[in-house]
């Protein structure tokens, strides 16, 4: 088909090649071979019809929901000349990504740069590192970001970078936690291995191998204090919880203040803005002091089933309590027996001269496996990594 229209075909191919690099500059993760296969497909199949070309290019060149969303605009921008200039300019002047204001809060439609695998496609907009940003925060910048106290983080860029770090961390934890079936002395016969071992005995299945039932996956249960004294930090822990959920972890998240409520569903919400809305709805109408004791007691009564032998229970709170500390001690004592590990993360504990004197924390101390500071990502990593290993 290329033969009957060699000239227009040639021009179209050049145009198409240019389009692929244009997409790449706008944050699509495309390689040189993608351009080749696109041009090849167009040539062989004679995709001269504009609509057909659009649909085919979309199928070939888009890889993610957010890319597909932006594709139409970019296609028009490239193939309809009058519009094209605008985009080229924004590319030269900016960070190489077509910027598009969306939704309140200055949400930008950006794609992750290469080498920065974008987790959770649903978070596309809010969380992705802009292409230019990769250079801005190199490894060392990431390092310093991980050590930055959460309460000093305000810039949206930092937040995005932190989100990326959190996602990477969550994935790493998942890798640590995943464990295959172990070969041990229980239940089902493993014929594959039995046959292999029989070789040593001249084909006699002498040594039997067994397959052990895969154990339950390790689970993290996060109990986040979202009272006013914690408001500088709770936001970050929610983000961390979201990252953990995104990495397909068995994570359960509860927030509490004067009452306890589960927020797993709200955090799983694909649209970050709707997620925020739902969280606000959940916590709306709360006032008064923190009642750690009552909330933990409520958890121990209503949700204790969630805590099995491979569960780490993580309480995040500063320990300022206006409730009954005896209740707190009782609840922790009961939970301590069920959980593999009971950890208290305290954002204040990292500050100089801190001593666990607040009423809540003082009452909880005897039951904890660990009371650790958690004011930045590095300190959380220090706690969670050994914790996950302990769950295996």
């Amino acid at each position: 088909m290329a033969a009957d229209g060699a000239d227009p075909g040639q021009a179209l191919c050049a145009r198409l090649g240019g389009f692929v690099s244009f997409l790449r500059e706008n944050g699509f993760a495309l390689g040189i071979d993608d351009a080749a296969s696109m041009v090849d497909a167009a040539q062989r199949l004679g995709l001269l019809d504009p609509l057909l070309l659009r649909w085919s290019a979309q199928a070939l060149l888009c890889r993610r929901p957010d890319e597909r969303e932006r594709f139409g605009e970019l296609f028009d921008a490239w193939f309809l000349p009058p519009n094209r200039r605008k985009y080229v300019e924004s590319r030269a002047g900016g960070r190489g990504v077509l910027e598009r204001a969306r939704a309140p809060g200055g949400r930008e439609a950006e794609d992750g740069s290469e080498g920065m695998p974008v987790a959770a496609n649903d978070e596309a907009a809010a969380d992705d590192e802009p292409a230019g940003g990769a250079a801005k925060h190199g490894a060392s910048a990431g390092e310093s970001l991980a050590r930055m106290d959460f309460r000093h983080l305000h810039r949206p860029d930092d937040m995005r970078a932190l989100d990326a770090l959190m996602r990477g961390f969550a994935r790493e934890l998942r890798r640590l936690a995943l464990r295959r079936e172990r070969i041990g002395g229980a239940r089902r016969l493993d014929l594959r291995r039995t046959a292999r071992r029989s070789v040593a005995h001249g084909g006699e299945p002498f040594e039997l191998a067994f397959r052990e039932r895969r154990r339950e996956r390790p689970r993290l249960v996060l109990l986040l204090d979202v009272s006013r004294s914690m408001n500088l930090y709770s936001f970050f822990f929610l983000r961390l919880a979201r990252a953990l959920l995104g990495a397909h972890w068995d994570t359960r998240v509860f927030i509490w203040h004067t009452r306890l409520s589960g927020v797993g569903e709200a955090l799983r919400e694909p649209d970050p803005w709707r997620a925020q809305e739902r969280l606000q709805l959940l916590s709306a109408g709360w006032a008064g002091g923190t009642r750690i004791g009552e909330c933990l007691d409520q958890f121990a009564r209503e949700h204790a089933v969630l805590v099995h032998a491979r569960t780490a229970l993580i309480v995040v709170s500063d320990g300022y309590d206006t409730g009954d500390t005896a209740l707190l001690a009782g609840a922790l004592q009961r939970l301590r027996r069920r959980a593999r590990r009971l950890v208290w993360l305290n954002p204040l504990a990292g500050r100089e001269g801190y001593r666990p004197l607040a009423r809540g924390i003082a009452a909880a101390m005897p039951y904890l496996d660990l009371h650790a500071p958690a004011h930045d990502l590095a300190s959380i990593e220090r706690v969670l990594r050994p914790l996950v290993l302990a769950l295996r």
């Binding site: 070939l60 929901p65 695998p117 649903d122 295959r180 594959r192 046959a195 084909g203 895969r214």
Partner: protein, 295 residues
Amino acid sequence: MERMQAVVALQRRLQELGYVAERPLAATLMLMDDLRRPLLLEGEAGVGKTEIAKVLARLHGTDCIRLQCYEGLDVHAAMYEWNYQRQLLAIRLLEHDGRSAEAKERDIFSERYLLKRPLLDSITREQPAVLLIDEVDRADEAFEAYLLELLSDFQLSIPELGTIEARSRPWVVLTSNGTRELSDALRRRCLYHYVDYPNFEKELLIVETRLPQAPARLARQLVEFVQSLRQLDLQRRPGIAETLDWAAALLRLDVGALDEASPEAILDSLGTLLKTRADRQALTPDVAQRLVASC
């Protein structure tokens, strides 16, 4: 321009087979045919991703081989497994056989003792089949890496037998719900299509195609109802499958039109649309009435 006609023809053909596809999807399916690349479908649960593979099989008059992915899926469940019982038995039977040890060995590790699992099955058919790899995001990363060999070269290696080349190239359809991010390497090898919730016209067409016996008025109303239901803040938004279930339920209950039906009948049948307790509670009789009234 012939190609455009071909796309339209394909679209019509798909509809005859009971699947309503937009033109971009039809064009993508054609492209898949031409380039013989796998197709990756993403979208929410219940929008008809799996159905595409099934209709593709009907279209080509072949089998749809389905591999349902789950966490911990391994090579032996997906590709092949030796039939150990029979092998052990064969070793015993061959003991007093006069043949050379080599010949016996060849016999024991021949295809006769190989259990074909979906992946191997799909490439060793004489007639190309449709291979559906469902919910690939549920499988581990390790399995995903394993898939790459199949998807790029259409061959599989079995240590005891060597590399098995595809006898025929299957049409491969992968679906993903986005519970986990897929690797770039996998995405690169595939054509991509995102399946969205259908708009009103399309959903109506689907209901009419799949349930031709439904009265036109009822079909319009129930599609409108589901469309506005999706706008509500629900935990699980109903997909097309749910719409069809509900339509079937209403037909069974002899409902001719939503506004004429008794509110109880509608509320009772909502179990086909709303699948969580919270959603069911959120849709109080008042809300249901209001939705019906606006249809």
